[in-house]
Structures are given as C-alpha cells and as structure tokens.
C-alpha cells in the first residue's frame, strides 16, 4: 500500500513547501484539499446514469434533476470547504508518557467567526481518529492519541485534519505540521535492583526503617510538606495546619546510579532506573540521578520526578532537537 520511497519524499517536500510548519495554522483555500469520497464517486455515477436515462427517454424533467444533483454536488463542495475554512488549528501540549503508553496531543481549534463546524476528525498517520465539533463555543480542544514505542522526543509529524460534513460525498482535509512533540519516558521495568547507594554526607541522617510507617506525631506545617501528610482533621477544627510525622518519612536519601545495574544494556538500565523513580516518587524520599555525564542533584517532589525522568528519556539522545 505504501508508495515507493522517492514518491513519498517528493510528496513530503512538496507538502513542506506548501504547508510549512507552524505552531498555529489558519485553514484556507491554500491549505485545504478536497476530493470526492467513494460515496462521492458513487453520486457522480448516479448523475451519469440519470443523464443517460434522461437522454435515452428524451425526458427533460429527469435532465433537470440530473442538473440539480450536479449542482448539489458543487454546493456540497462549498459547504465542505466552509466547514474547515477559517479554522485556526494549534498544538497546545502533550503530557509525557512512558514508552508503550498512548500519548495524547492536545490540539486546539478556534474560529473567529460564529459559524458552526461539525464532525472534524484529527489523527496522526494511522493513529485513531478523534472527532471535534464546534457548535456554540469558539474554541475546542481535542486530544489526538498516538501509541508510543521508544523513549525520547516523539514527533508524530503532520496531523491530518479532515471532515466529510455535511453529506459525506466529499473529503476536505489537510496535513498540518504543528511542530507537535511530546516526551516519552523509558518504559519502567522493575527487577533485580542492586540496592541503591544511600546518600552520604548530608546532615541529620537517620537509620532507615524500611517499610515502617509508624506515626510519630504532629508537627507545625511547613512549606513543602506532602499534602497527604497534612492533618485535615485538625485543620477542620481550626487548630491550625498540622503535618503528621512518620518515622520513616524523614529524610531518606538515595542515589539512582547507572552502575547499580551491571551487565544490562543501556535501555534495560534506563528502564530499571525509571521503574525506581516511579516507585520512589510518591514516597517521601530524596533522590538523585547519576548517569554517565549527567547528574541530577538530590531532591523530591514533582519537579524532581519530572527532571529525573526527562534525563532518563533523553539520555544519549540529542536533546537539542527537542527544543522549539
């Protein structure tokens, strides 16, 4: 089914000329293509049959109906075009996912006018279709899915925006390069972890009581305290915001290190490390990452998790190309 390589290259080149990449693209006659669908060709065949009927029976009213249907086809072209014309399509963002998961690209469609748009489908290549209707609102977002496989930056390329509205006889479509990209973390694979090295040198280190979550007492709320450790009961009784202290929730510091997984190849190591991050992130643990040439200092919280996963995702990948 796929066209030979050189044709595809030429087509891609032509598309790049005609539809250059941009984060926000307004659809107009330059950027929209229209061709009949199978049903549309069938409709044209029907018109041909009616014309034959009219000619052979010398039946003028049937000729008029054939003319009406031809004219209807042309009107349908205009309606199909109007359904997409004037729409502004832009890429908003894509949440990072782990390799193998489905990434959702948030794409926004806005129209400056008050016309209704219906049945606009978005998809990447062979990915699933996602349908959008702009009825009363001026802006609507759509989450276009794409399955991921490898870590790193995922660039799905051109998104296909198409519509068969209102009669299904014609397909109006365009391929937009919205510079869509999303970060794919390595696939987390747990197993055979050699104990990560406890961090040393930091003050106030305590013996870790692994697996214990004994309640130790309350403590005045400080910024940075995890939300799930707040005592909402006290807060509700207006006794101030108190945090619950757990014996094992006090600073435990871990370094996630490349060399902890000897004998594995790069991707396997990254996957193991990734699994560790996933495991550690919800716990009250400070952790850092050490990869050859890359080091993320100790830290915790969401931003730490993101930074560590990002480094894992982009390890030995030219991260420069991800910047836009």
């Amino acid at each position: 089914m796929t066209a030979p390589g050189f044709i595809r290259r030429h087509f891609a080149h032509w598309l790049n000329q005609r539809l250059p990449a941009a984060r926000r693209i307004r659809l107009n006659q330059q950027r929209l293509f229209i061709l009949p669908t199978k049903a549309g060709w069938g409709f044209l065949g029907l018109i041909a049959i009616l014309w034959l009927l009219a000619t052979n029976y010398e039946n003028s009213p049937i000729f008029a109906i054939a003319c009406l249907l031809s004219s209807l086809f042309i009107t349908a072209i205009l309606h199909s075009y109007a359904n997409l014309a004037g729409l502004e399509i832009s890429f908003v963002a894509a949440e990072p996912v782990f390799a193998g998961q489905r990434m959702l690209f948030r794409i926004a469609a806005c129209c400056a006018d008050k016309r209704q748009r219906q049945d606009i489908a978005f998809h990447f290549g062979r990915g699933d279709h996602q349908v959008l209707n702009l009825l009363d609102s001026k802006r609507q977002d759509v989450l276009v899915p794409l399955d991921t496989r490898d870590r790193g930056w995922l660039r799905p390329g051109r998104v296909t925006v198409e519509s068969r509205y209102p009669v299904g006889l014609l397909r109006v479509w365009t391929y937009l390069d919205l510079n869509c990209c999303g970060l794919v973390y390595p696939q987390p694979l747990s197993g055979s972890a050699v104990a990560s090295a406890p961090a040393t040198g930091a003050a106030g280190q305590k013996q870790a009581t692994v697996g214990s979550d004994d309640f130790a007492g309350f403590k005045k709320y400080q910024q940075g305290m995890p939300l799930q450790h707040l005592s909402w009961k006290h807060y509700a009784r207006e006794r101030g915001l108190l945090g619950k202290e757990y014996a094992d929730a006090i600073d435990e510091r871990l370094w996630l290190r490349w060399q902890d997984y000897p004998g594995l190849d790069r991707e396997a190591r990254l996957s193991r490390l990734c699994a560790r991050v996933v495991e550690l992130a919800p716990q009250q643990v400070e952790y850092g990452l050490q990869l050859p040439g890359v080091e993320v200092p100790l830290g915790r919280g969401d931003s730490q998790r993101q930074e560590v996963l990002r480094q894992l995702a982009l390890f030995e990948i030219d991260s420069h190309e991800g910047m836009i």
Binding site: R23, A39, G42, F43, L52, N56, S70, S71, L72, N133
Partner: protein, 675 residues
C-alpha cells in the same frame, strides 16, 4: 468502523420518509403486494432501531427474496420493462433497510432512493409529478445529510431537512444554468416504454369509433404558430392516418409500399437523390411558407398530425407517400415537432401510378349492391368528376342529418346508411362518400385526424379528442388529391364553429375521457380556470418538457453563435458567479472576522515598510521578538529613522499586549514617521 453500525436516528427517519413518499408516488405502477412488503420492512426496521428485534437471518432474507420473485412472476410474467424494473428497485430498497451493517449500506440505499424517485418522472411528466419528485429528492437528501450527522443536539431530527433544503435552494441557480445551457444529445439506444393503452385516432375506422371520440374531452395536441396567427377554422384539417383499404365494415391503412419512385417514408426532410422522378418532387407547394410547432399528448402510436403539405426537418419525423407525418417511435411522452406549411399545394397531379389507382378504387365484392348500382348510374349521368362529386354532396346536404347517436348498421352498412337511416356522424359520411366515389370510378380514400381547434387566449390552439374527424380525399386529373369533407355538406356549422360549440348546443355532453374541466365550459369562472391551467401546462410543455427544441434559438439569441466554446464560456461565467455568491454567503462570518482593525493595518504597513528596507518580519515572529532581533542587528545604525520603527514596535506591543491603550496615538505617530 464498528461491526454493527447504527444509523443515526435522524438519518433513518428521513430515509423511511423518503422511501414512503417514493412508494406513494409510484404506487400506480407498483403491484399492491409491494406496498404490503414495504410496510413489513419498515416496521421491522423500526423495531431493529428500537433494539427490540434483530436483523432478519439468512433464511428469512431468502424467503422474502423468493416471495418477491414469485410475486413479480405472478404480476408481470416478465422481468424486463419499466414496471418490473421499478418494482425490483423499490423492493430492493425495502430489503436494504434490513441489511444496514455499515454506513456504506445506508449510502447505497440513498442512491437507490434517488433513482426510484426519478423514475416517477418516466411515468408522468406533469408539473404536479415534477414538484412531488423534487419533494422526494429533498427527503432523500435529508436522509443523506442525516446519515452523516454526528453532533446530536437539540432539534437534530429536523436539522437534516433544513440543511438539505438550504443546500438544494443554493443549488437551484446553477441547476437552472446547466439546464438551459447544457446541450442535449439524441437518444443513444431505444428504451422500453411503459405498457399503456393507446388513445386518440386509431388508424382504423369501424362504425362507432369516432362518435366515441366525439364525447372525449381530453387534449390531443397543442399547436403554436410561429407568427402567432393561426389560419381560419375551415382550413384546420390535421391529417393523420389515411385509410385506403375497406373490407365492407372496417377501413384500414394500406401496408407501406416501397416503389421505384422512392421509399414509403422519408426521414428528417431528406430530399432524396435517387435516379428517376422521386415522388417527393411531385408535390407542388406555393404561397408563403409558415411554420408551427405541435406538442402532441402521448398516444402510444407512431403517427403524427399536421396540416396538408407538411414538411419537417426533425430527424425522427418522417414524411410518407400519403403526405402525412409519422414518428420513428410510438409517442409515449409528449412529442414536440415543428412543421412548415404552405397555403397552396398540389400533389401527384400529373398521374396516379397504376398500382395506386387500383388500391384507391378497390371495393369489396358482394357488399352494398344498391349503392354500387346507383353510383354507376349517377357517374354516367354526369360529365366530369367534379359534377359527380357535387351531385353526391348536394344529396347529402338535402337528405341527411348529423348526430352523435346514430342507429346501428348491419352487414351492408353503406346501403343501410345511405338509403335508410340517413343519420350519422363524420365517419358514416366519409365512409359512404368514399364508397360512392370508388363505385363511380373516382379514386378516393378516407382521411382521419382532427378538424378545428380551440383558440387559447394566449395565442395557441388546443385540439381535443372531440375534434377527431374523418373526411375524404379524391384524386382528379390535373388537380391531384383534393380534400372533400362530406360532413361539411351536411352540417357546415360543425366545421365553421368548431366541435365544442356545435356539441354544446346539442344535447350530448362530454362523457368520456378523464375528469376534465371541459365539461364545465359553460360556467365562465371554471372555464377561465381551465384555460389558466392549460396555459400553465402549455408553458411547462414548451419550456421544460420540450426545451430541447427551444434551446438552439434561445442560445443563439444570447450568444450570437452557438459553439462549444461559447457555451463553455457562458457556463463558466454564470457558474463562477453563482458559486461565488454561495461561497460568500457560507463564509460570511469568516470574512468579517478577517477584517483588520486600523491598528493592525498600520502595524502591517510598518512591517512591510521594514521589509522593503531589508528587514522583513519572519514567519510567526511576534512584535517583541521582531523588535529584539532588529535591535540586535543594529537597525538604528543602518536605517534612517530606524529609531522611530523600534519605538513604534515597542508601543504596539504595549497597546496590544500590555493593555495600555493610551499609547495608541504615540504608536500612530511613530509608525508614520518611519518611512
């Protein structure tokens, strides 16, 4: 696509409506059991949609299919022809309702519906049927839109109808242009017509035929004269079948004869270049040539009607040796043809070919002995043919009377009529007159057709079935074939006043034919209504049904010369106009939204001035990034007034994005200062 695709409710509703409307429209052509079958299909489909029933299994389908086939065999005994085809399509559409697993099934059904809707127009082409078909097309289009409707919102059941109505309305102008301009081609191949009883003049004449037609108020044809002035009523003899052969009771047409002076029929006004003298050259016409167009109602018979000495250049119209017009195909839909005619004519005046003379003198042996004997006696008493004819006509005038209810006649019909009853209708007079002529040795034949016409206020003529008439033609040396109407000798007012006034005075009413307002012509208001309706139908016939014959002259008037190029240009120009208008209407919102504010326009002109100076704004570069780049590239040092430009950009940013409209004036000033 999901394996069990569910048709949107609005699509299904309109599809069912469309199918029901089409079935009702075609019900006259369909056997009754089909309607029953359709009802079953509809109910089943509705139950499927409600989730109560399932689609029929394979055996149920096979059973339904076999039942339909059996029904068709019983109803039609055949599978070809228009009615079986219609039945097949309608029942197939009904079955398809029970087999909709994909969207494409719905689409196929919609196409079949379009086709069956149009089939209505093959059976009848009246305005009413055309309007109804248009209504059906609207419903089918609503079904098509409904199938593709995904956004179910408020009022969604009606919205497909509204949308398809709007689309069809927007399509009308272009349709009109296409209809008017697109050239019509001649038929590619012969097609089966519908099976219908033939009407009008029958091509034979048995006693009672014409008196039956005399009570029929249906329209036979309309005639429009090119110069708008029809000839006087006594010249309006519309010649149809010529009856030469008489078997004692029944007059019938002669078999077509191809003789060495040419074929029986010449098609499309071809003047033959055969060796020897062609019969066509023995027709002499003189006086001013005039033209008329005749629109004939369907008769299912191939003959056409025309004034004497006709000539037609229409390709499917032929002229026979008997000087009358015939059509290639039986007339199954309204037939338009244009004819030229001359006030004076003479044909076959030089001589009558012996075989032809024999044919037109033939009388059956053993019938009507008294008439034969009396004819020979009178012929010997008179010197010339003219005198003999005068003698007979005089006798008719004195002793005979005209009635629509003549007494029945026995074996020797001419004898009984001439010597006993002496009361009759045109057929009796024509028949006995020709018999008398032949018995007296004068070549003669019966001509059937119509006589007279009703004049419509709009200037055209209406010829009804009660105008059906039979008269005679006799051949005389040096004069050729001459028309003699014995009825005119008996009841001259029948010819002069026209049939309708003649009959309205007599007690016999128009009792045959379909319901027609002709019966109430004595009530002025209803008569006005009848004439108005007839005018509507006349213009419909002329401008829609028979547009093919108008098209050439109309296009010539518009374009000067008619060629593919000029037609193409006209289509292109009008098409572009219409499409442009529709598109403007469709995009009305966007175009307004695209209108720029003065602020934006000034900003754009500033950017273009900078671009001319060699510092274009990059694609997608915002004002701030632009300004920063210009600063970094040291614009102020390289371009005069560069400072103003940078200032203007800063101010623009403040006005647009910093929500500080007080800088607008300053922006204007700075932007204009930069040049």
């Amino acid at each position: 696509m999901t394996p069990q695709w569910q048709m949107p409710r609005s699509g299904l509703v309109w599809l069912l409506c469309a199918q029901a409307a089409i079935a009702v429209g075609l019900s006259a052509a369909l056997p009754v059991w089909i309607l029953l079958l359709l009802t079953v299909n509809f109910l089943w489909r509705l139950q499927v949609h409600r989730g109560l029933w399932r689609y029929p299994g394979r055996w149920a389908k096979v059973f339904l299919l076999l039942a339909t086939m059996a029904g068709m065999v019983v109803s039609f005994q055949r599978f070809t022809g228009l009615e079986p085809l219609t039945t097949l399509l309608v029942s197939a559409a009904g079955f398809k309702l029970l087999e909709m697993h994909h969207r494409r099934d719905g689409i196929k059904l919609v196409f079949v519906c379009y086709f069956t809707a149009v089939l209505q127009l093959l059976y009848e082409q009246t305005i009413a049927v055309a309007v109804y078909t248009l209504f059906c097309v609207l419903l089918v289009t609503a079904a098509l839109t409904g199938i593709y409707q995904r956004a179910e919102g408020r009022g969604s059941s009606w919205s497909p109808l509204q949308r398809s109505g709007a689309m069809l309305l927007q399509s009308l102008p272009l349709m009109l242009v296409l209809f008017l301009v697109l050239p019509r081609l001649p038929a590619f191949w012969g097609v089966p017509g519908q099976q219908q009883a033939s009407t009008g003049v029958s091509g034979e004449m048995s006693p009672g035929d014409f008196s039956r037609l005399g009570k029929n108020g249906d329209l036979a044809f309309r005639v429009a004269f090119d110069d708008g002035t029809p000839p006087p009523a006594q010249l309006l003899y519309w010649r149809g079948p010529i009856l030469t052969h008489f078997d004692g009771r029944r007059w019938s047409q002669m078999d077509p004869v191809n003789f060495r002076d040419g074929a029986h029929v010449i098609w499309g006004g071809n003047t033959s270049t055969q060796r020897g003298q062609h019969w066509q050259e023995r027709i002499e016409k003189s006086g001013q040539r005039r033209g008329y167009t005749l629109i004939m109602e369907p008769t299912q018979r191939p003959w056409l009607f025309a004034l004497p000495a006709p000539e037609s250049t229409d390709l499917d119209v032929g002229l026979t040796r008997e000087m009358r017009l015939v059509s290639e195909q039986p007339i199954s839909t309204k037939k338009h043809y244009s004819v030229s005619w001359w006030p004076q004519y003479r044909y076959f005046a030089d001589t009558l070919v012996p075989w032809q003379r024999r044919k037109v003198l033939e009388i059956p042996v053993g019938y009507n002995p008294k008439t034969r004997q009396r004819a020979r006696q009178w012929r010997t008493e008179t010197v010339t043919e003219e005198a003999y004819i005068q003698r007979v006509l005089q006798w008719f005038n004195q002793d005979f009377s005209y009635t629509l209810e003549p007494p029945l006649l026995g074996t020797h019909s001419v004898d009984e009529f001439l010597w006993q009853s002496q009361r009759g209708f045109c057929e009796h007079f024509a028949s006995s007159f020709v018999f008398l002529m032949r018995a007296g040795g004068v070549p003669a034949r019966v001509v059937t057709g119509y006589q007279g016409a009703e004049r419509h206020p709009d200037g055209y003529l209406l010829v009804h079935q009660y105008n059906a008439h039979a008269w005679a033609e006799v051949w005389m040396p040096a004069k050729g074939w001459v028309r003699v109407d014995p009825t005119a000798a008996v009841a001259p007012e029948r010819i002069e006043q026209g049939a309708e006034s003649f009959f309205s005075n007599s007690q016999s009413a128009l009792t045959e034919g379909g319901f027609s307002l002709s019966r109430f012509r004595h009530i002025d208001l209803l008569n006005q209504l009848r004439l108005q309706l007839d005018a509507l139908d006349y213009y419909w016939s002329t401008w829609v049904l028979g547009y093919q014959s108008q098209q050439k002259s109309l296009l010539q008037r518009w374009l000067g010369e008619v060629s593919w190029r000029s037609i193409g240009l006209l289509l292109l120009a009008t098409g572009a106009l219409v499409i442009g208008a529709v598109l403007l209407w469709l995009l009305r919102g966007s175009l307004q939204a695209r209108r720029r504010t003065p602020l934006q326009r000034l900003f754009e002109s500033l950017c273009s001035k900078l671009a001319k100076a060699g510092w274009p704004r990059h694609h997608g570069e915002g004002p701030r990034a632009y300004r920063q780049r210009l600063q970094a590239e040291r614009l102020t040092e390289k371009v005069a007034n560069g400072n103003n430009a940078l200032m203007a950009l800063t101010l623009y940013e403040q006005v647009c994005y910093g929500e500080q409209p007080q800088y607008t004036e300053a922006f204007y000033r700075e932007a204009k200062r930069f040049r």
